[in-house]
């Protein structure tokens, strides 16, 4: 169980979070069918660092992007996503 550095709540247990998908698999609203399917159905799936979208579902409910190493689970960065929030 990882410790995820939520940009809003600080480090929290992974059990409070849900993985959504990788950043490169986000389908933009204006993508063509081919682009969209390439996004949706292929992955880099590296044995290394990837940018992943997680949600602090059972905490502050915010979305964030984690740069995480898929073998060591080292989280090198966690950025906030979403509408601008008051500090």
């Amino acid at each position: 169980m990882m410790l995820i550095p939520c940009p809003h709540c600080g480090p929290r247990a992974q059990s409070e979070f849900i993985y959504e998908r990788t950043v490169d698999s986000v389908v933009p609203l204006d993508a063509t069918s081919q682009e969209a399917m390439a996004k949706l159905f292929t992955r880099n799936n590296p044995r290394g660092v990837d940018d992943e979208i997680w949600r602090h579902t059972y905490g502050c409910r915010a979305w964030m992007v984690l740069s995480r190493h898929r073998v060591t689970n080292e989280i090198s960065e966690c950025r906030a996503i979403g509408p601008e929030a008051l500090p």
Binding site: M1, M2, L40, R43, N44, P46, R47, V71
Partner: protein, 418 residues
């Protein structure tokens, strides 16, 4: 190859077991093979075996980066069944199940396939309709499936909690009596020994580090033991498909996730069949050594760590204990995790890739073990002929972009997708 039999064992007993030969050779790689299979798991070894046995091709190498059977072949819950709802899936797995039934004799290696029955429990009328639907789909295609009443379930598994006020009360089940379990390591070893005896080179500690290309086509592989030429190359490394395909510049519809499983200390027989559930996500069986083998859902995020989230396992155990309360005082003695290729419709991928001469077998999600014979058979056909076998034709790599996904659970591109 010395044949195994009760007689040969007796001979061993009298002579101090000095006559046994290695189950497979330890050859140096040749400079060129007709077909190279990357990955010495059950699937890769079975593919090599059938290439030699069925297609008469023997200039074949299986390249394994570690030791054979050391990946997901040796990290699963050994369940064998073909009880899928969708036709392409149940037809494929049923073909495999038929092979399982003769496998020990075929290989002269006891893989301990034990058709003790694979049972899904239903916990509501809605569950029972879903189970009947699955069973009906199977039966109409000639595959065995029987609905069990509550009493029949209780008789088969006396330790199930049959109380009406259980959180997930048991209303009945769907059993595939020809399903069961097998000894996972033996499957890799048996196929390995069989393939070796037919002339296949099994090369362990040989990691593929790149592909040799001529124009676009693959004509060989770079390995930690040098360059090896090949007519065709078949990737067969589920869990790491993305990585190996990436060496050829391919991006796959696959995300690697961790699947955990565990076993308890051995006890005298208490679980007779393979217990699964329509509403809960755990599966329970008991090994011949007496350990109760336990599995659940994969950890639902990408990982190559081969280590899971303890609470995922705790959740699976909670579900199992809700079904079989008598497991409470047993002790978990060992856990393991595999890295699984989670494909984006839950079904495997076997077939050509956009790269000439390069073929792919992967995307097994958490159901690859039971597929071993069928996977090997159809992949061998594909590699030998360059064309898919009728049974693996639906499992092509391009089905995702075409929209021809085979989505057993109807859950879409990812387990949590919307």
């Amino acid at each position: 190859m010395s044949r195994y039999s009760a007689f040969s064992l007796l001979r061993g007993a009298l002579t101090g077991h000095r006559h046994w030969q290695p189950a497979w050779r330890d050859p140096e790689p040749k400079s060129h093979y007709d077909i190279i299979i990357i990955g010495g798991g059950g699937h890769g070894l079975a593919t090599a075996y059938y290439l030699a046995k069925v297609h008469g091709l023997t200039n074949i190498a299986v390249l394994e980066k570690g030791w054979i059977g050391g990946g997901n072949t040796g990290r699963n819950t050994t369940i064998v069944r073909s009880n899928y709802r969708l036709e392409p899936l149940h037809n494929f797995f049923e073909f495999g199940l038929k092979l399982w039934h003769g496998l020990s004799d075929e290989l002269n290696y006891n893989v301990m396939f034990s058709p003790r029955g694979a049972m899904f429990l239903g916990h509501s009328d809605a569950d029972m309709v879903k189970l009947a639907e699955r069973g009906d789909a199977m039966r109409c295609d000639g595959i065995d499936a029987d609905l069990l009443t509550r009493d029949q379930v209780a008789k088969l598994e006396p330790l199930l909690d049959m109380s009406r006020d259980a959180r997930f009360p048991i209303q009945g089940g769907l059993i595939q009596r020809r399903g069961g379990t097998a000894r996972h390591d033996a499957v890799a070893w048996g196929y390995g020994r069989g393939a070796d005896s037919l002339g296949v080179d099994i090369i362990q500690k040989c990691e593929v580090t790149g592909f040799v290309r001529d124009g676009g086509a693959v004509v060989g592989v770079e390995t930690t033991r040098g360059r090896i030429g090949a007519g065709r190359v078949g990737i067969c490394v589920a869990g790491h498909s993305g990585h190996v395909a990436g060496l050829a510049g391919l991006k796959l519809p696959v995300e690697s996730q961790t699947l955990q499983a565990m076993v308890t200390e051995g006890v005298k027989p208490m679980i007779n069949s393979v217990i699964m559930s329509q509403s809960l996500h755990c599966y329970i069986s008991q090994s011949d050594k007496g350990g109760v083998v336990f599995g659940g859902d994969p950890d639902n995020w990408p990982s190559y760590a081969q280590r899971g989230h303890p609470m995922v396992m705790e959740g699976a155990v909670a579900q199992g204990l809700a079904l079989v309360p008598a497991l409470s005082r047993l002790r978990m003695v060992r856990t393991w995790s595999g890295v699984t290729d989670m494909s984006f419709d839950g079904a495997p991928i076997i077939g050509e890739t956009p790269v000439p001469n390069l073929f792919l077998n992967g995307g097994w999600c958490y159901g690859g073990f039971k597929a071993t014979p069928a996977s090997g058979w159809t992949y061998a056909h594909t590699l030998a002929t360059g064309k898919p076998h009728a049974l693996n034709a639906p499992f092509s790599l391009d089905r995702f972009e075409r929209g021809a996904t085979i989505d057993e659970t109807g859950s879409g591109p990812m387990p949590n997708s919307r």
